[in-house]
């Protein structure tokens, strides 16, 4: 996105210009939301390459669905992230909820982390901890993993999770509780929780 281009602040105007083929407006959307979508995809896939592919797929689908966006019904961020979550979950389920071996990929995580605000030692330690937590999450059963990610990382409400996963709220609560206990046991075995 050009540095001189003025930001479009109205979601309705931004979407209207995107639909009219305004490449500057579309670049603004990609610039504002690509990181959030990428992180969401990464949490579910556990691999950077898969997360990139999934993020690209999400934005293609987002653009094709822009005509469905209603500014009166909510802001663009909520609409876009809701659509992204649905697509990521669909992809997650389409892949058979296969747990991803993230061990190798997590070593590349350092390159992408924004650690400039931390002291060098703190940054490395935080990086190590994040990698271990990601690795532990990937060891969870698929049903439990999606509920834990949506609740404790994405911080969605129970009802939002019910809407995305299309399962009863009691099942959601049960899976979240079991997922937390299971993840705690995994982290204990990995000797990670001792350092938190």
């Amino acid at each position: 996105m050009g540095a001189n281009a003025a930001l479009i602040k109205s979601d309705a105007e931004l979407v209207r210009r995107c639909r009219a083929g305004d490449s500057v407006a579309w670049e603004q959307v990609v610039h504002e939301y690509s990181r959030r979508v990428y992180n969401l995809a990464y949490r579910f896939t556990g691999r950077h390459e898969s997360a990139e592919d999934l993020t690209q797929e999400v934005f293609v689908r987002v653009y094709r669905s822009l005509e469905q966006y209603d500014a009166q019904a909510g802001d663009l961020a909520n609409w876009l992230m809701r659509l992204a979550r649905n697509l990521v979950i669909d992809d997650y389920r389409r892949r058979g909820r296969t747990p991803t071996d993230v061990g190798e990929d997590l070593t590349d995580h350092e390159y992408h982390l924004e650690s400039h605000l931390d002291a060098p030692d703190q940054g490395v330690e935080r990086l190590e901890r994040s990698s271990q937590v990601h690795a532990a999450i990937s060891k969870l059963a698929p049903d439990l993993r999606e509920c834990v990610i949506l609740r404790d990382i994405e911080e969605l409400s129970y009802q939002e999770i019910v809407d995305i996963l299309k399962i009863p709220v009691g099942t959601v609560k049960s899976r979240i509780n079991r997922g937390r206990i299971e993840l705690a046991k995994i982290l204990r075995r990995m000797k990670v929780v001792e350092y938190i």
Binding site: S23, R35, Y63, D152, S174, R180, V193
Partner: protein, 294 residues
């Protein structure tokens, strides 16, 4: 509260969703059970780690934005729904250039929309062909329609239907170029009549008056001619009578002349009656006419 119930209640406890009594039982079990106490501590630490993970964002690869923008080029950016909405404008030729480029790009990339457009073009061609080729109506169709609507007992219509093709042929013949001149003359005659008499009725009325005058004049002429003829006949009749009276005493041929019967003698020409016998006075009847009548 046992260990199983304790583990099932961990999230509700952390969410503050337990009622006071259950919360008290949960606290008591945590104090009394080391394993559950450790587990509870691990779960709280895990939630802290997950929260931290949610707050820290992994930076996306530098090239990702460019890759997304490349994937959402013109053709990709136009959805199939957008393509559908542009099809009518495409056939009307009113798509603006930038939009047309995206339309073309989507057409090149999307096989589904290519098939859709080809199908519409084919349908339009078929409609044009159907419009150009009119199908002849079968002769029996009229009778079928009449039978299906007003019924087959409508004989006058049936008779008309038999004459229908003839009349329609005559109608078409009348409108041939050869008869155009005749139609023109007829129309001109009508125009002359209308300009001179005002209407066909007025023309007929004047013609009737003229005819009546001619009849009256003719009648007068006939009467006059009749009077002259009677006068002439009377003169001839009186002359003949005087001749006959003069010829009666001993004059040869006088009997023959007086004899009304034809002579059978050789050398004599068959004799016509010697003219009508005109009675005296105003009696206009002729004698020979009276004989013939007798």
């Amino acid at each position: 509260m046992n260990c199983g119930t304790f583990q099932d209640s961990v999230s509700d406890y952390l969410d503050g969703a337990l009622d006071p009594r259950a919360r008290a039982e949960f606290g008591a079990h945590r104090l009394g059970c080391r394993a559950c106490r450790d587990l509870f501590g691990d779960v709280r630490a895990t939630l802290g780690a997950l929260g931290a993970l949610g707050r820290e964002e992994v930076a996306e690869p530098v090239e990702l934005k460019a890759r997304i923008l490349a994937a959402t080029t013109a053709g990709e950016m136009l959805s199939c729904g957008d393509f559908d909405s542009l099809i009518e404008r495409y056939f009307d030729g009113v798509i603006l250039a930038p939009t047309f480029q995206t339309f073309q790009a989507h057409f090149a990339k999307c096989s589904k929309c290519r098939r859709l457009l080809a199908g519409i073009e084919e349908a339009i061609d078929l409609c044009r062909e159907a419009k150009a080729e009119e199908v002849e109506v079968p002769d029996s169709l009229y009778e079928r329609i009449v039978a299906a609507t007003v019924g087959a007992e409508e004989q006058p219509h049936s008779r008309f239907s038999r004459w229908g093709p003839t009349l329609s042929g005559l109608y078409r013949a009348v409108w041939t170029p050869q008869l155009a001149a005749a139609a023109l003359i007829f129309a001109a005659s009508g125009a002359v009549i209308l300009s001179r008499f005002g209407s066909v009725g007025a023309m007929a009325s004047e013609a009737s008056e003229r005819a009546e005058r001619l009849v009256n004049e003719g009648q007068a002429a006939i009467n006059q001619t009749g009077s002259m003829a009677i006068t002439g006949i009377q003169r001839v009749s009186s002359g003949v009578n005087s001749i006959l009276q003069d010829a009666k005493p001993g004059r040869p041929g006088g009997a023959e002349a007086a004899d009304p019967q034809p002579s059978s003698q050789p050398g004599n020409q068959p004799a016509r009656p010697q003219g009508p016998k005109i009675p005296d006075g105003d009696n206009r009847s002729c004698s020979w006419i009276d004989r013939n009548q007798a």
